[in-house]
């Protein structure tokens, strides 16, 4: 039981929207599509739903070729970023509408609507119309409607993007469990790396209409295979440094030389490391350190973001706790070489890092 896109391409001549996209999603799984606006997330979902027919490639559902089968003949439910509800119908009727269209018996409709309303905490609101609801309640109504259909494929296109931050946090917690109970294939599109990590499941990263990585969320975050996937899966943005590896040293564009990285062959590389691995302070022995100046510091409660100009690049250091450095302050920053990823000119990642030691707490 699965959904397969096999070599799917889509687009107008000269403007590819999807290029040779292949994915394999299992029934009962949660699959996150992660990428910036216009990277192809919605286009992939439209192909999966049968709203668009691909120019090349096939779509398989449970082993059957469904390429070109229209959406009305598929078992699909979709939730969009913009809440879509029938304004004149009550919440109850909004949730019930796909079941009425399907001609289900009255008692069955009643039972399914009550179930979904309970799960999404809409029970006290069933008699209201959408205009009398908050944004979060309207979106929960739209999600409940997707749930009652018990579709084999549920597509959620940035469903929480227009909701309050805290409400998003709660729904993120609840949504995967909610849909897991239905056994559907769940596909969830987002622009936010943290959302992909919080949801868990499998993450597929997208860049300019191509899939660039696919795997369990945290594993893919820690061990991305190439530069586009690493950039898309970094928040704060990836810190980067172009270098020339030569004679056991790293040569920077401004003429500085740093100690070489073990295992890195000579040549042109783009080094990358995450903000949480950039430390502020005097570099300990063996670390890669540079001098810079603070552009701006942002305090976000449990962590602070120190934006540092190191001359050849601008980096962000994510520091635990409150660190308030004035703009223009001279600082030293450093990173543990084991945290550095190296990418070749084509963006492919070289194998370098050694895992850090561990201890047992439970």
């Amino acid at each position: 039981m699965s959904l397969v896109l096999d070599g799917v391409s889509l687009g107008v001549p000269g403007v590819p929207v999807l290029e040779d996209v292949s994915v394999h999603f299992e029934r009962g799984s949660l699959n996150v599509l992660l990428g910036p606006t216009l990277s192809g997330k919605t286009s992939m979902m439209r192909v999966m739903a049968g709203l668009d027919r691909p120019d090349r490639g096939r779509v398989w559902m449970d082993g059957a070729d469904v390429t070109g089968v229209p959406v009305r003949r598929r078992s699909v439910a979709m939730v969009y970023q913009q809440f879509v509800n029938y304004p004149t119908l009550s919440v109850y009727e909004n949730i019930a509408s796909p079941l009425r269209v399907a001609g289900l018996p009255r008692a069955e409709i009643e039972a399914r609507v009550r179930d979904a309303a309970r799960l999404l905490r809409l029970e006290p609101l069933l008699r209201r119309t959408p205009a009398q609801l908050s944004g979060g309640q309207q979106q929960r109504t739209a999600i409940a409607r997707a749930l009652v259909k018990r579709a084999a494929l549920v597509l959620l296109d940035e469903p929480l993007a227009n909701l309050d931050y805290k409400l998003r946090e709660e729904l993120r917690e609840e949504l995967p469990a909610l849909f897991a109970q239905t056994g559907a294939i769940l596909v969830y599109a987002t622009t936010e790396p943290m959302e992909a990590l919080l949801l868990g499941g499998r993450t597929t990263t997208l860049w300019e209409g191509r899939t660039t990585a696919s795997g369990p969320a945290a594993e893919t975050y820690r061990n991305p295979p190439n530069l586009p996937a690493t950039r898309v899966f970094s928040d704060p943005p990836l810190n980067e440094l172009p270098v020339e590896a030569r004679g056991g040293q790293l040569h920077l564009p401004d003429g500085q030389a740093l100690p070489g990285l073990p295992g890195l062959p000579d040549g042109s590389w783009r080094l990358g490391f995450r903000a949480e691995h950039l430390q502020v302070g005097r570099p300990p022995p063996g670390s890669l350190g540079l001098a810079g100046r603070v552009n701006v510091t942002e305090i976000a409660g449990s962590e602070s973001y120190v934006h540092v100009d190191v001359g050849v690049a601008t980096w962000v250091a994510l520091v635990r706790g409150v660190m308030d450095l004035p703009p223009g302050e001279a600082v030293r920053v450093h990173v543990d070489p084991r945290r550095i990823m190296a990418f070749d000119i084509a963006g492919r990642r070289a194998t370098l890092a050694q895992p850090a030691p561990s201890r047992v707490v439970a």
């Binding site: 910036p36 606006t37 908050s134 944004g135 979060g136 309050d164 931050y165 805290k166 409400l167 946090e169 622009t191 936010e192 790396p193 943290m194 990590l197 919080l198 868990g200 969320a217 945290a218 975050y221 820690r222 950039r231 928040d235 704060p236 943005p237 995450r274 949480e276 552009n295 701006v296 942002e298 305090i299 976000a300 409660g301 449990s302 973001y305 934006h307 962000v316 994510l318 635990r320 409150v322 308030d324 703009p327 850090a356 030691p357 561990s358 201890r359 047992v360 707490v361 439970a362």
Partner: protein, 357 residues
């Protein structure tokens, strides 16, 4: 140049408000100073937008007076308040160039040509728009258009205040980083009073000198980002700020100890006997860590791996809480211990923080 004074400002729905439920915004007193940035932070329906609309003149408050530099502007229309506004979606003239858009508010005020050129160049440089100044605004990307909107809000130096209404909501995460740090740098460079409405704690905390946390039409706490994180005055502030929010556990407190479902938590301060109302202790997940040393026994329900941090969903007795997992730690069983920093535990009675003796 201005100081804004909210003197008993409130807004009720009907002509004869009874209880708090009749108010979109309960009467409040606040003073906002020239040169500082303020964020109004809260969930939808908390009253933050009503408050912003009262400042801009879109809403006439039912209660109180609004003063700009001591002058009563409560009943003045928006155009006579001398404020600049930036909205959630870009508001620009498609037919004009980027420079034309930035110059528009200055032309409206009758500024001379040389002054306009200078101000437009300075604003464009701050926001990274210099290279596109001569391009038509029409063909630019959504984030570039929002940069122009921000530029139009910041181009005049003589405004009483710049009001931002969720300006980064439609921006992709990567570009949010760029725009946020640009805004912050602009705030450092310009001597303007800025008021920023958002539901996003990261935007509020990173931008503002002072954050006004609101809920249910009420201001619950005004403080610096560090104060709101380290010492929330209200359990809602503890919950709303921080991701995930503060752990709140029903407790009995006496002297220098709290008891949570039979477990003793040492406290850093001494408390007077608390027997009235609902007593809770609050501690942020950041200060609760799984440990292989001594600590309180917990059941581990789940580990959430968020890439750069791992969170353990645990139970202390019957009560759920969130703990952090140290970077080098391995968790395999369901029995564990947590270490809680006593100095980071706060005590709340009926949702309000109780200060130690």
């Amino acid at each position: 140049m201005a100081r804004i004074t909210l003197d008993g400002i409130g807004h009720a729905y009907g002509p004869r408000p009874g209880g708090p439920a009749d108010y979109a915004l309960q009467p409040l007193d606040l003073v906002w100073e020239q040169g500082l940035a303020y964020a109004l932070l809260g969930p939808s329906g908390c009253g933050k937008t009503t408050l912003l609309n009262i400042i801009s003149g879109l809403v006439q408050p039912s209660h109180g007076r609004l003063l700009f530099d001591g002058t009563d502007v409560t009943h003045l229309p928006t155009e006579r308040r001398n404020i600049a506004q930036v909205f959630q979606f870009p508001v620009i003239y498609d037919t004009m160039t980027v420079a034309g858009n930035l110059a528009f508010p200055l032309r409206n005020r009758g500024m001379d040509r040389a002054g306009i050129v200078q101000q437009v160049a300075r604003t464009a440089a701050m926001l990274g728009l210099t290279e596109v100044l001569d391009r038509p605004a029409r063909n630019l990307s959504a984030d570039a258009k929002q940069k122009i909107s921000l530029g139009r809000g910041l181009v005049r130096q003589d405004v009483a205040a710049v009001l931002f209404d969720e300006p980064l909501t439609v921006i992709d995460p990567g570009l949010k980083w760029e725009l946020r740090s640009k805004l912050k740098a602009v705030h450092r460079a310009l001597d303007l009073l800025m008021i920023y409405v958002t539901h996003d704690q990261t935007e509020a905390l990173t931008f503002a000198d002072q954050v006004v946390v609101m809920e249910g039409g009420q201001v619950l706490q005004v403080g610096t980002p560090a104060e709101l994180f380290e010492r929330p005055d209200h359990t809602f502030v503890g919950h709303f700020i921080g991701s995930p929010g503060m752990n709140l556990l029903p407790a009995e407190v006496s002297g220098m100890e709290a008891r949570v479902d039979g477990h003793a938590l040492p406290l850093a301060g001494r408390y007077a006997p608390l027997d009235a109302g609902r007593i809770e202790v609050g501690v942020r997940p950041d200060f609760v860590a799984l440990t292989d040393g001594p600590g309180l026994p917990v059941q581990v329900d789940r580990i959430d791996d968020l890439g750069r941090v791992r969170l353990a969903r645990v139970r202390l007795g019957r009560h759920r809480m969130v703990a952090t997992v140290p970077p080098d730690a391995v968790v395999s069983g369901s029995e564990a211990r947590v270490r809680i920093d006593p100095a980071r535990i706060h005590v709340y009675a009926d949702s309000r923080r109780v200060a130690p003796l």
